[in-house]
Symmetry: C2
Subunit: 289 residues, 2 copies
């Protein structure tokens, strides 16, 4: 038997309190961490943050197989050109695409809707993970809806510029001589908003995974840009930051669709300018083994 | 003053030990969590998992401005066609792209390298976040390297099929009537491996953020697919799962480059078949407002 002195009682009490506090801190730390991480990443679209579970499930399988179980396989015999023709065609196609520039100064002239339909048909020929075709192209012609889109984007942009962004972002943006006024959203005769369907639905209503949906829709946008260039229309590739949810609601798109890109489409205005940039030469982008 | 009985000592000891254990568990839980999350996502490429910090930093800024600070702005006057011409061109371009199919049966005939250079030049005209042009196209012609690539991909595929994947994945794959034999990796005269540069370097050697690098490189792949189709060549869009790091090392690419896609390129073999799939009609992919 031994007896407890007040000093020992005090030491034991302090010890217990200290241990408890530490345990609490761990719990607190855990709870706070995701928030802290989110706050340190102001540049990631808030809508994308909300759908982590969907984003996680989106990448699967290595080949982009069609998902149809019982589909027939049929012979395929594509067009074949002579080697000379191939070289000529590839040169001409490069020359066509090489004239493309991102244009922020658009004329308000109307453009033929048949052309818009055809360029979207062309975009719809893109390959997609498991042939899910996870894209929706929303074509906005209505001046009021265009203006409402502009308001939403400019509001969010102003917040991005003035509040959300850290020093790095502000420095980067300064270099770009840009601001949050997007006149082309009003003047372009057509805005194409491209939504990726992060998942689909099977007949029973259950969610169907859309493998590689973001990559698929981006490839499809590549085809769209080529088709626009081929038709003599101009655009600028934009990804409105943090506007996805508000634009989705404005355009009545379902929650499984997330805004990936917005392309204002039209003719270049007479005063259009572009930055005098060069592209990397072939030897900087191609390696042969 | 009060005295301590052995029972009280025991209770205090148990209490202290219990509190300590709890605190440990919290720490352990924290440490384990990322691992557990990773393990529950077998379909996400392991290489991509390793670069969370880079991935987090990759999305920034809403417009894809050029980053050059002092670049001049010059007038831009793109080619303009009559409305009739626009409609015709857009129809023809759609017809061309609509003939494209993913082809897994490739002939071993050689193809003109000038065409490969031109299609990669065309891909290099893609827009990119802040004009970073974050792509590297590795063209593999060497039969031994192609075979080594095949070995790596088939090894990883077999592991994917038999070990890594959960029930859902195995069920999905069963439907696809596929296996991990990729003969086209040997027979295709050319493999194009597309790497995304998740960051670059500024002159001082510091990392330079590559905004939207995955979307940019995917758009560029869209242009590449269009260019291949235009030249009369076929391919299949693949994203070899978990092979990125080994293929990167095999091809001596730097650590800031991650494999995004692999395209075997050539002519279709005489026995080529494709699944008898349909594409969604325009009204399913386009919405007008």
């Amino acid at each position: 038997m031994f007896s407890l002195t007040p000093v020992l009682v005090a030491v034991v009490c302090i010890l217990i309190v200290w241990i408890f506090k530490n345990a609490d801190r761990n719990v607190e730390k855990q709870a706070r961490e995701p928030r802290a991480r989110a706050e340190s990443r102001p540049w990631v679209d808030e809508d994308l943050r909300d759908c982590t579970d969907l984003h996680e499930g989106e990448e699967d399988a290595d080949e982009w197989h069609q998902s149809e179980e019982t589909v027939d396989h049929i012979p395929f015999c594509p067009t074949r050109y002579s080697e000379e023709e191939m070289v000529k065609r590839s040169q001409e196609f490069y020359a066509l695409l090489n004239q493309r520039r991102s244009v922020r100064f658009l004329s308000n002239e109307q453009i033929p809707m048949e052309v818009i339909e055809n360029v979207i048909r062309a975009a719809g020929t893109s390959p997609s993970g498991a042939h899910t075709e996870p894209w929706t192209f929303v074509v906005v012609k209505d001046p009021e809806v265009k203006h409402r889109i502009r308001e939403i984007i400019e509001e969010e942009e102003e917040i991005n510029y003035t509040r959300r962004m850290g020093n790095r972002w502000v420095t980067d943006v300064k270099k770009l001589r840009t601001n949050w006024i997007k006149e082309y959203l009003d003047t372009a005769p057509v805005l194409i908003l491209i939504f990726k369907q992060v998942h689909g639905f099977v007949e029973t209503g259950k969610k169907k995974v859309h493998y590689y949906n973001e990559i698929s829709v981006s490839i499809s946008c590549g085809l769209l840009l080529a088709a626009l260039q081929n038709a003599g229309l101009v655009t600028v590739t934009t990804t409105p930051l943090n506007c996805g949810p508000r634009l989705r609601v404005l355009l009545s798109r379902p929650t499984n669709e997330k805004l990936l890109m917005l392309l204002p489409v039209g003719y270049a205005s007479k005063e259009a300018t572009v930055p005098d940039l060069r592209r990397k030469p072939l030897e900087q982008i191609m390696v042969t083994v």
